[in-house]
């Protein structure tokens, strides 16, 4: 059952991405209404997919790459819906939905069977670790999209052109604020994710920290965002610098999540496929 729901929500995200892309070309506001309805429906069905998999598996389904990709995408769409409601940013869906779709397609290509839970994952802490980490990552994705939109808008303003897209993009102020807000949520969540991960590691392997690639890279990511937050609050790194840092941070996030799994061997390897 959960696989059906998963596939339907992937299809809906696909449709929404199409409509959002057409919107970028035609800039007809009617399209947005359809796109956001489709995304909302996709999110509801995706939620059903998660719940039914939870019931069918008997554990929180965030234990292999298929599950975590799907969970990450679910969080991203959740953040999109919240930010979209709160800030009414027209273009946001055109940037976030394709990212969620790519994760979903990736997850679609991976083995989807429910397997008996590996012993190290049978921990009270593990689901918290994953949920915190991915919710944080979803906010970093939002910060990334705001960064990209900021650079586009800034480029148009600096080059003194009034492109049609620039007119629809939010103002620099809104994009910079949203970048900051998403860090304010994302950073504590990432911190919690690392802490709960360490606690879980203590249960699973008998040590809090072991410098395996995943751990190292999440620490690098953590330092990147910590640096950005610090500079922002002290010397007023904002605007372009903050946008670039949010993009850099997101690349680190992706590498920590996917690159490490696929390229570097380590303890998190069970989450390979």
């Amino acid at each position: 059952m959960n696989i059906y729901f998963f596939k339907i929500s992937t299809l809906l995200y696909f449709l929404a991405t199409m409509v959002y892309s057409v919107y970028l070309i035609l800039l007809k506001d009617d399209l947005l209404r359809w796109a956001s309805r489709t995304v909302l429906l996709g999110f509801v069905i995706h939620t059903l997919a998660f719940l039914s998999r939870y019931v069918e598996a008997g554990y929180t389904p965030v234990t292999n790459l298929h599950e975590s990709l799907s969970f990450f995408a679910w969080m991203i769409i959740g953040v999109l819906l919240i930010a979209g409601l709160r800030y009414r940013i027209k273009m946001l869906g055109s940037f976030l939905t394709p990212i969620a779709l790519i994760l979903m397609l990736f997850a679609l290509a991976l083995p989807k069977e429910i397997l008996p839970l590996a012993p190290v994952l049978r921990s009270f802490w593990h689901p918290f670790h994953v949920i915190f980490a991915f919710l944080g990552n979803a906010f970093f994705t939002l910060a990334f999209c705001c960064g990209v939109m900021y650079l586009i808008q800034e480029h148009q303003l600096k080059s003194k052109r009034m492109g049609a897209i620039g007119k629809r993009l939010p103002s620099l102020k809104v994009l910079d604020d949203l970048n900051y807000y998403s860090l304010k949520f994302g950073f504590p969540l990432l911190t919690l994710g690392i802490i709960t991960g360490a606690v879980w590691a203590e249960y699973a392997w008998g040590r809090y920290w072991g410098w395996d690639p995943k751990e190292t890279w999440s620490l690098i990511t953590w330092f990147l965002y910590a640096a950005l937050l610090h500079q922002r609050l002290t010397v007023g790194w904002r605007g372009r610098k903050a946008a670039l840092m949010a993009i850099l941070g997101f690349i680190a996030v992706l590498f920590t999540f996917l690159g490490v799994n696929l390229l570097l061997p380590g303890l998190h390897a069970y989450s390979n496929w």
Binding site: Q153, L157, K158, K160, R161, M162, G166, K167, L169, P170, S171, L172, K173, V174, V235, G236, W237, R238, G239, R240, K241
Partner: protein
């Protein structure tokens, strides 16, 4: 459905527009001919009493004065309308006759469609004109000066305006330097409400630009000027704060938007100075509008991060770019107008007596044949003779029913009301020429 049978009378009612606008007449003449709101009712009543005119409406705005009318005797109607304009305003006709334009039939239809869609406005795309036409139409309705044709014409005009507004981006472009500045400020700061504007200089240009920003939502204004008194006066006007010229950096630290227009021969702000200011500002974004000639602000200032610098040429370039976009949109709008004029003319031509009678007969005949066949197939026992008499009887019934309305329509005395009857018949019986238009009119009302 354009058979030349000439059975009934042809409706030669024509739509005419007579008037003048910002393109044909200078302001002093437009002023003389404009109608005050309070005068319109009386004016409509007087036009109504002109025998050659059937329906009428007056559109009077600061850019145009136009009388819409329908008439069968155009020449006479035009003469009388000109006389009327001259008399009611006590203004000799020869003073304004050459400023008048006269449009008839299809041209008049195109004209009102273009006016309603703001294609004929001084500032193309400005939205007020539609409201003004709606008001003019309402007044004509209240005074019972408008009839079937103007009703339809105006409803179509509103429909066209709506199409132009939703299908083209004609009104989305800032085309004046000041409105471009406001639009840019909004793209940087979002809402302008909490923004601080700093005016460097106190000339007319500055005042104008500041006024635009205030209408865009800005509340706090700072002013500095070489002669401090001028700064004080301007600050008082905007309930702002004045600085001596020497303390410019204080203003630069506080401001979000800086408008500069001094007549200093050299730049008053260099990029070295600005780098220091930006540090003090903690790199909060700042938007410079340099409208001075020669420039007040070194161009390199615009290369700094979080600094946006537009001089008057940049603003003009953007305005021109927008204007070009808008012209492209206007072309698309003209296409919509063409389409709608064609549609209206089709409806208008169907308002003739003969085709309507033909269509009405055809409709009745179809019903008769259909019902008769149904009945005959249910009763195969009927003899040929019985069938013949049923046929004759049903034909007689529809002829009798149609006899009086048709005679009525053909009567010369009823000529004046013909359009009303025809429209009613077409709508009530859903006759083919009008059904399509009628449906669209429904859409336009919603």
């Amino acid at each position: 459905m354009k058979e030349k049978l000439n059975l009934g009378l042809k409706l030669n009612m024509e739509i005419i527009v007579i008037g003048l606008n910002h393109k044909t007449a200078p302001i002093n003449i437009r002023e003389r001919l404009a109608f005050q709101d309070s005068e319109i009712e009386e004016a409509l009543r007087r036009i109504r009493s002109i025998p050659s005119i059937r329906e009428t409406m007056i559109l009077s705005t600061c850019n145009r004065v136009e009388i819409y009318a329908t008439s069968k005797d155009i020449e006479k109607a035009v003469q009388e309308l000109k006389q009327f304009l001259s008399e009611i305003h006590r203004f000799p006709l020869e003073r304004f006759e050459r400023n008048l334009y006269l449009l008839i039939g299809e041209e008049a239809v195109r004209h009102i469609f273009r006016v309603a869609s703001s294609l004929d406005s001084m500032v193309v795309g400005e939205p007020q004109i539609l409201g003004q036409i709606k008001e003019a139409y309402q007044r004509a309705n209240e005074s019972k000066a408008s009839g079937v044709i103007l009703h339809r014409l105006l409803h179509r005009a509103f429909h066209v305006a709506k199409r132009v507004r939703t299908e083209t981006k004609i009104s989305n472009h800032a085309v004046s330097v000041s409105s471009v500045a406001v639009e840019l400020a909004q793209r940087i700061f979002g809402t302008l409400e909490d923004r601080v504007v700093f005016l460097v200089g106190a000339g007319e240009m500055i005042e104008l630009a500041a006024r635009h920003l205030v209408s865009g939502g800005v509340k706090k204004i700072l002013v500095t000027n070489r002669t401090y008194e001028r700064a004080l006066t301007l600050a008082r006007e905007f309930q702002g704060e004045a600085f001596p010229f020497g303390e410019m950096s204080v203003g630069l630290k506080k401001a979000d938007i800086v408008i500069s227009a001094t007549n200093s021969p050299e730049p008053i702000l260099t990029s070295e100075q600005m780098i220091r200011v930006m540090k003090e500002r903690k790199h909060r974004p700042i938007f410079f509008i340099d409208i001075a000639d020669p420039r007040d602000i070194e161009p390199e200032v615009g290369d700094l991060e979080n600094v946006y610098l537009y001089n008057i040429d940049d603003l003009q370039k953007v305005a021109l770019e927008n204007l070009k976009d808008r012209e492209k949109e206007a072309e698309r709008a003209e296409g919509i107008v063409r389409e709608e004029v064609e549609r209206f003319v089709r409806w208008y031509q169907s308002l003739e007596v003969t085709p309507t009678i033909v269509a009405l007969r055809k409709k009745f005949e179809e019903i008769r044949v259909r019902e008769l066949e149904k009945m005959l197939s249910l009763h195969p026992e009927l003899t040929e003779k019985e069938r013949k008499s049923l046929e004759a009887m049903t034909s007689a019934i529809i002829n009798k029913i149609l006899h009086e309305p048709i005679t009525h329509l053909k009567e010369k005395d009823e000529e004046a009301m013909a359009d009303f009857y025809i429209d009613a018949l077409q709508t009530l019986f859903q006759l083919p020429q009008s059904s399509e238009v009628a449906k669209e009119e429904e859409d336009a009302r919603i």
